[in-house]
């Protein structure tokens, strides 16, 4: 070891003269590490017991400060090597992520049809945004409708799937449960199945002659043919079939208040059921990881202190799971605002546009209706909406963590 060190030192010294030569550079770093190792062994009380591990101390970061002796060029060189290794990824990122984002932004200011090469499109300024947000017409009303549909979708799906995922994780985490592995796999299985395949199976199940109508007693529901809102249906039971004056006469963005209060359509409810069933397995996995990270001793200590099962859940498990809860909520929120596959496969926006969502409408306008510019403007707006909601949620969750 001593010989090696000496050798390294001499080479290291040489490297000072031949800056920029990689081989020497590495040797010198190794030598520096050795130096650090030696200083460490000198100062640590357990010196005799620990074998010298020359590469490890780099973790402390001190070799960099020691390096000042060796010269700044060494560090710069490392930066260059680092960028060299990063280049393929950065290029990929630029071409496949950054560039498309800016292209979409640019397209949203054009009247691009989606058919010609995009560079031939004419610039129309803010026309697309005006059509979607300001001008009283079909496009604005449809955008509002898609927002309404998706809004109900989010406020039903996110809480339910989060609660279900937590419940599943909690059940599967129980040590006393027999066949735990089986249940884990069973709950997780929907997530690894293709979402289109799952959607099609649900579509069959929800047909008028399908499984759901056969199993559930009561009148047959024409799930994918029914565009009535669930809240409207509920009010209908109490005899409220038409909008009471003030709700029907006032409108926001082309939809009356009565329309806004429709609730998710019957068809949308079927889609929500499918999505909740599919995603809760994935989210269960996140919760399960969190649960397994909670030390058992905490639970035991709480039990000794006389905490009930509910108390342990409320004051030990849930606070410890805060990062997972945040993650699951954010993922759920982003995922639900982007819902597309299930809608495409199960209802294609129908019946009567009652399951159109902004993400689906982007596709429809861009690829089915020849309005790629409008679709891109929708995409930009959707992006802003998701950012806004995630930000709000972040604020709420972080506020809570300050409280406790």
């Amino acid at each position: 070891m001593e010989v090696l060190s000496l050798l390294n030192t001499s080479i290291g010294g040489a490297s000072g003269k031949h800056r920029g030569n990689t081989r020497f550079h590495y040797a010198s770093r190794q030598q520096l590490n050795l130096n650090v190792g030696e200083t460490m062994t000198a100062t640590t009380p357990l010196a005799g017991a620990t074998p010298r591990r020359p590469t490890k101390p780099a973790k402390t970061g001190s070799w960099l400060s020691q390096d000042k002796r060796g010269g700044k060029a060494l560090f710069e060189h490392d930066v260059r090597t680092g960028w060299m290794f990063l280049t393929p990824f950065v290029l990929g990122m630029l071409i496949f992520v950054i560039l498309p984002i800016f292209t979409a932004l640019w397209v949203s200011f054009t009247d691009w049809s989606g058919i010609t090469p995009p560079l031939q499109a004419t610039n129309v300024g803010f026309d697309n945004y005006r059509t979607l947000l300001v001008d009283d017409g079909l496009r604005r009303a449809d955008f509002a409708l898609s927002m309404k549909n998706n809004f109900y979708y989010v406020i039903f799906v996110v809480p339910i799937q989060t609660a279900l995922a937590f419940f599943l994780a909690f059940v599967v985490h129980q040590k006393l449960l027999k066949g735990r592995d089986y249940f884990r796999l069973a709950f997780f299985f929907p997530s690894i199945t293709s979402s289109i395949a799952v959607s099609l199976i649900f579509k069959f199940m929800f047909q008028t002659d399908g499984l759901i109508n056969k199993v559930v007693p009561g009148p047959k529901v024409n799930w994918f043919g029914n565009s009535n809102g669930a809240i409207h249906n509920l009010l209908g039971i109490f005899g409220l079939n038409k909008a009471p004056g003030f709700l029907g006469n006032h409108s926001v963005m082309g939809l009356t208040f009565w329309d806004w209060l429709s609730g998710p359509s019957v068809a949308m409810c079927a889609i929500m059921g499918c999505v909740i069933w599919t995603t809760s397995g994935t989210l269960m996995l996140l919760f399960l990881g969190g649960l397994q990270n909670i030390p058992e001793s905490l639970d035991e200590a709480a039990t000794l202190d006389g905490a009930s099962a509910f108390g342990r859940m409320r004051h030990v498990t849930l606070p410890m799971l805060r990062p997972q809860v945040f993650l699951v909520l954010v993922l759920g929120l982003i995922g639900t605002w982007q819902v597309f596959d299930q809608i495409y496969a199960m209802s294609f926006g129908g019946p009567d546009k009652s399951t159109i969502t902004p993400a689906f409408w982007i596709y429809y306008q861009s690829f089915r209706n020849g309005q790629a510019g409008l679709g891109a403007a929708l995409a930009v707006i959707l992006c802003l909406i998701i950012t806004l909601f995630t930000y709000i949620q972040r604020r709420i969750v972080s506020d809570r963590s300050v409280e406790s």
Binding site: G114, T116, L138, N222, D352, K353, Y364, G370
Partner: protein, 420 residues
């Protein structure tokens, strides 16, 4: 047993000469045929042509490939059919890249978008043989606003009344020929767990009643919405009367995927569908004795839709001359008959209608529709207006919303897109 080297050599020689004879005899005819080919345009030889279309039945894909192979053999070109899943997206991406296939399917509804984007090369004069033979109603679909024929139709379908002939006979009902008879027939036939008339509640079906009544969705130039008209109101009233009494229903209301299925499963007595229903019924419900009749006429006469597709030539294709040769071969009288004779899609040329009908005389009502069929075509970006039209249909038919309110709303929505 050993063979002397001499014998072995002789044997090898014989083998070689036999092979050589075969090779020559095989080569001679091919040389001869190559010489006869010289009479044909040389530019086709070895020309690669790609054709994009959507995935239809395996039989259809195979039939087109067979026809192309025959043409390839005859001309020496290399044309290939490449069916695309998710066609709208695929063709759009291919065209937006500035390249794309040489020839591609153009649906009549998508035609205005492609025309406006300048993606289609108009047919050069003389490229399409005898264009006047193509039904005027179909020629009109693929003619630019300037009056130039852009691409020749591949085939077409129309809507007609399809019914369970045995059931109608048993109930003593003749296929209705006008609106009054239709109402009576639908009422009489709503029995034994069947609905008299079943059709999808959407513009491509409801629209025919508007035509029969003398109305339409928009004016002729597609500049202004015209849903709110007395003619359309009359058409809607007929449908509404039948719907309120459950003599007319949508397929999903009687748990059928579409009208064809409703008829096959004996849930409907009459349906309004296109000629694609013929092979479906034959295949899935062979025992059904299906009858076909022209759609009942309204106060303004007969009316139906023509759904058609053309072979468009890509403006960016480098082989346009060869592409037009191929398109003409596929759509001239001979080509149209070769293609449509395999299936129940109709040739777009009047001159071969009789030959096509000879094999299937009962489908005459669909062919007759070509005389008065209207096109299923608007302007780019009109798709969501049609969605708006479909959206309120059930509520109008059931009487929950008045026709005037509905029509005003649809017109307003449509005009906001048309800019009128």
């Amino acid at each position: 047993m050993t063979t002397s080297p001499n014998v072995a050599l002789r044997r090898r020689l014989i083998a070689v000469s036999v092979v050589a004879t075969f090779a020559i005899s095989a080569a001679v005819p091919s040389i001869a045929s190559a010489q006869s080919k010289k009479a044909k345009p040389v530019n086709l030889k070895g020309q690669k042509l790609s054709i994009y279309g959507w995935v239809s039945s395996p039989e259809e894909d195979a039939a087109l490939t067979t026809i192309l192979n025959r043409w390839n053999k005859k001309t020496g070109a290399k044309a290939k059919f490449l069916p695309q899943k998710e066609y709208d997206t695929a063709i759009q991406a291919a065209l937006a890249s500035g390249a794309g296939p040489d020839v591609f399917y153009v649906d009549s509804a998508k035609m205005p978008d492609l025309l406006k984007a300048g993606a289609l090369a108009p047919a050069p004069t003389g490229a399409i043989s005898n264009p006047n033979d193509i039904y005027p109603s179909l020629r009109d679909v693929f003619t630019s606003p300037e009056g130039k024929l852009i691409c020749p139709p591949k085939d077409f379908s129309t809507l007609a009344l399809t019914y369970d002939a045995d059931f109608l006979k048993a109930k003593g009902v003749n296929p209705p020929t006008n609106w009054d008879e239709l109402k009576v027939a639908a009422e009489k036939l709503t029995t034994d767990g069947r609905t008299g008339l079943v059709m999808g509640f959407e513009y491509p079906r409801v629209g025919v009643f508007m035509f029969q009544g003398g109305g339409a969705m928009t004016d002729a130039k597609i500049k202004k919405m015209t849903v709110n008209s007395p003619q359309n109101k009359a058409a809607f009233t007929v449908l509404s009367d039948m719907y309120k009494n459950k003599h007319l229903q949508a397929p999903d209301e009687i748990s059928a995927g579409w009208a064809g299925e409703a008829l096959g499963k004996q849930k409907a007595a009459m349906i309004i569908e296109g000629n694609w229903v013929v092979s479906y019924l034959k295949k899935d419900f062979p025992s059904l004795n299906a009858g076909y009749a022209e759609l009942p006429a309204g106060p303004a006469g007969k009316g139906t839709f023509a759904f058609t597709v053309c072979y468009g030539v890509n403006k960016n294709s480098k082989n346009q001359a060869a592409a037009w040769k191929l398109v003409d071969a596929l759509t001239n009288a001979e080509g149209a008959l070769a293609w449509t004779n395999e299936f129940n899609v109709m040739p777009a040329r009047a001159s071969v209608a009789d030959k096509w009908l000879a094999k299937r005389p009962n489908l005459k009502p669909f062919v007759s529709g070509a005389q008065y069929a209207r096109k299923f075509q608007f302007v780019p970006g009109f798709g969501d207006v049609q969605g708006e039209f479909n959206k309120g249909l059930k509520d109008v038919f059931s009487g929950k919303v008045s026709f005037d309110d509905y029509a005003t709303k649809v017109d307003k929505a449509g005009n906001s897109v048309l800019g009128g």
